[in-house]
């Protein structure tokens, strides 16, 4: 069962080939057996999952099943789940049981999707390798010596290894797309405002966006149908109708104009990665698309702008973790200042503290204009680049990452090199656009992802383009060795 897509599993459930309980049990069994190698789950919620699976089967028996009813999924541990530990992979929240559900969690529960567990991630979603988790790094199922990418590394590894048919992720600078690329799966970061952020623990509020991670574009479309939509509890969530993302998957690509930004094909990309991307371009040409060179002249500014904006917002967002009301509190505080400094000093990991300090500095009196305000202006320039591009092309195609999965520990001592692994994904967050990554080949046995970027609220077109590609390629069906059975 674990080699099937959600669309196939859904059909199987509908035909009565297996029940949701059986399906859920089979994934729970895989998690138990295989996750010791990967460390992709922080919390397993087997009992809750089976309870939900039974309810899903009952619902199906009554003829009230939707397309996802009974399909188990895993949730990134950044989403608040009522009665279940919600840690954000931080010592700070190791003891935090959320008293409420995130909107995304509510929507999947309402759709009838049992929750298999909460997946590992970089601490507070800050990282590109899943090595900043207080629960230890996640391993890439394609090579256990390598990282799965981050911050949604647990979700990516779990889906890649077929420990879950799908998982939720969040993407602030590439945290869905980069791990999807490094583990050979498909993931989409929707337009900012498409999916509610309510109950999703904030890293950088103006950039964070939740999205699905699965094997195929079709599965992502099914999942996004559940996730997307207005939520009055999130003021930045856009009140705009949600199309049925599966309805347009089969549209032919003849005449689709694809822009290839020359800045994404410049130096920095590994030659083997470049070859895979070139092959993907060739495939799209074969499908009738018209590929043209475009320029995003300010894209080189995206990493520095991001590393001002995101830390600035995080420095404020993470101020609530103060040891006063919930979460980690240091032992025997002497006084208030001691309570603050030790609770935060001991509760946060090194990367989180680095970003809080960078952000605090960037917002300080006398530096605000030079850093935060300047970065916001750069952000506008980057968005304008895309706007110009989308007046000429329908979607933009490029690499998701400059390299394939790197070795555990390879970049942990060099934050700047680590930050550069998100060089192609960050601009998309700064502009608030939707971006998708899907597997497009291998380089030395490791998956390579191709990234598709769309205009605002054009997720349907991205999913359509990805689905058509996947109808003519089989990269998305490959299984990592050791996880086949």
């Amino acid at each position: 069962m674990h080699n099937k897509t959600i669309a196939q599993l859904s059909a199987g459930l509908a035909r009565g080939e297996f029940s949701s309980v059986e399906l859920t049990q089979s994934y729970l069994e895989r998690i138990k057996r295989l996750d010791v190698q990967l460390n992709s789950f922080i919390t397993q919620t087997g009992d809750l999952a089976l309870e939900a699976a039974r309810a899903a089967d009952a619902r199906r028996a009554k003829g009230e099943a939707g397309p996802l009813t009974g399909i188990p999924i895993a949730h990134k541990d950044i989403f608040c789940t009522q009665g279940v530990k919600t840690s954000c992979a931080s010592k700070m929240l190791d003891n935090f049981i959320s008293p409420y559900n995130a909107t995304v969690i509510e929507r999947f529960a309402a759709a009838g999707c049992p929750m298999l567990g909460k997946t590992n991630m970089d601490e507070f979603a800050m990282g590109s390798s899943n090595e900043t988790s207080v629960y230890g790094p996640v391993k890439n199922p394609w090579d256990l010596q390598r990282v799965p990418g981050g911050s949604s590394g647990g979700s990516a590894a779990a889906v890649a290894a077929r420990l879950a048919p799908a998982a939720t992720g969040t993407d602030t600078g590439g945290s869905i797309r980069q791990p999807a690329a490094l583990t050979g799966i498909t993931g989409i970061k929707p337009t900012y405002g498409r999916v509610s952020r309510f109950g999703m623990i904030a890293f950088a509020s103006s950039l964070d966006q939740a999205g699905p991670m699965a094997h195929t574009a079709q599965d992502c479309a099914l999942l996004l149908n559940v996730m997307a939509g207005f939520d009055p509890r999130d003021s930045t969530c856009v009140d705009q109708p949600v199309p049925d993302y599966t309805a347009t998957l089969d549209q032919p690509l003849k005449g689709l104009k694809i822009g290839l930004p020359k800045e994404f094909f410049a130096e920095g990309m590994e030659p083997e990665v470049a070859a895979v991307i070139e092959a993907a371009v060739a495939q799209y040409r074969q499908l009738g698309a018209i590929c043209v060179d475009i320029s995003l002249p300010n894209s080189g500014l995206s990493v520095p702008a991001y590393y001002v904006v995101a830390p600035a917002e995080c420095s404020s967002n993470l101020a609530r973790f103060d040891g006063v009301r919930y979460g980690y509190r240091c032992a025997q505080p002497k006084d208030l200042l001691d309570l603050y400094t030790r609770s935060r000093g001991e509760g946060f990991g090194a990367e989180v503290k680095r970003r809080i300090m960078v952000g605090t500095y960037a917002l300080s009196a006398g530096y605000y204009d030079a850093y935060y305000l300047k970065a916001q202006k750069v952000r506008r320039l980057i968005a304008d680049d895309f706007k110009r591009a989308f007046s000429e092309v329908d979607i933009i195609l490029g690499p998701t990452t400059p390299t394939t999965a790197f070795k555990l520990g390879e970049k942990t001592d060099d934050p700047v090199t680590m930050y550069l692994s998100d060089i192609y994904t960050i601009a998309v967050n700064l502009a608030g656009l939707p971006g998708l990554s899907m597997p497009a080949g291998f380089a030395q046995g490791l998956p390579v992802g191709v990234q598709l970027i769309g205009s605002y609220f054009d997720e349907a077109r991205l999913l359509n383009a990805a689905h058509q590609y996947q109808q003519h390629t089989d990269w998305h069906t490959r299984l990592p060795t050791g996880f086949e059975g």
Binding site: P99, A319, D322
Partner: protein
Amino acid sequence: MQWETVIGLEIHAQLATRSKIFSGASTAYGAEPNAQACAIDLGLPGVLPVLNAEAVRMAVKFGLAIDARIAPLSVFARKNYFYPDLPKGYQISQYELPVVQQGTLDIELEDGVCKTIGITRAHLEEDAGKSLHEDFHGMSGIDLNRAGTPLLEIVSEPDLRSAKEAVAYMKKLHALVRYLEICDGNMQEGSFRCDANVSVRPLGSEKLGTRAEIKNLNSFRFVERAINYEIERQIALLESGGAVVQETRLFDPDKGETRSMRSKEEANDYRYFPDPDLLQLEIDSGLIEQMRADLPELPDAKRQRFIKEYTLSAYDAGVLTATRELADFYEAVVKAAQGEPKLVANWVMGDFSAALNRDNLDIAQSPVSAVALAALLNRITDNTISGKIAKEVFEAMWAGEGEADAVIERKGLVQITDTSAISKVIDEVIAANPTQLAQYRSGKDKLFGFFVGQVMKQTQGKANPAQVNDLLKAKLAED
């Protein structure tokens, strides 16, 4: 040297919305600690603020009432600092672009001169919770019921020149927000409180002196005392060759002095930046115009109308329009009494207000309604009773003994207007007091009052005073 005082006030008015500014939790005062704090007020991980539209409408209403510019686009910003009763580690406020910009408020000085005070801005923000330092055996308790309560912070220009002016301004604002029904004005519960920025400079100097900010003054009296203390302190400091330090001070009402709380060097860098969880606040001109049309009559306009419509003195009109409730009550009595606005004014400002004060009641709690009071006053106008008797009837009504006519009837207080009956009593009084009569006739005019008193005493005060006067005058003049 002669010194000039310069004062600017920052007033926090708690907006009278039912729910909080960014959550659905109730704002009602006095609940059990933390009973009115939801996940959003507690600053749980993942929660997001959603702006309360009613709070915005109230801010716009205020802006229109002070003739300010309503910003078509304003921005919520985060003010970052750590404090245990600040759950998110930042307060959502407005910084660079407040919703209300550049208004004015006229105050009347003691000499009757009107002075226009500039209001730089008024912005929306959330209140913090409360730290409770008692009853926890060396630890502190946190009550987050107040966290997220909507506040309108109203910032004046440094246009005030004395503690008295500051109080006059504050009272005027207090009346205004209550007129607008955007704040209950309850200062004891902290619904209306004030920070005062005070500095002094040599008279004639253009340059502002270094200021001290006195925090959290929650009564008019404290404002006056704190500012006066601060002025003296600063002048004494400067005259002895010292310098005022820019700092935050607290007023100790028991000692009547201000104390340093923190200096500028210790002040927080609040790292303001636009809150990415909230969109820019856009207010369209249609809403503004509709709200302008719906604005109630404001205190100054009402006062002018009272002077004109009811031919009241400026003083009377001022007293009667001090609160919307009193003005409404006055007008209700006038309407029910079908006239006699001056008589009504005297009664509303006099016996009625005195009774309310004595029993510590609000107008809404008054045992005598406007219609009932009007019925009483009508009995004065139609000569059924005298003004003096009316006071007795009023007290009986206040004590719950019934309507005016019933009380008059039961107590037999109907005025004697029968000339022959009054004449008869006068004759008796004159006959009984020959000595006084002789003295009066020999030129001791003052004894007239004695005879009036005797007549009234004989009639238990029920004789019509005007008739008594006329008849007595005639009789005493007879030989």
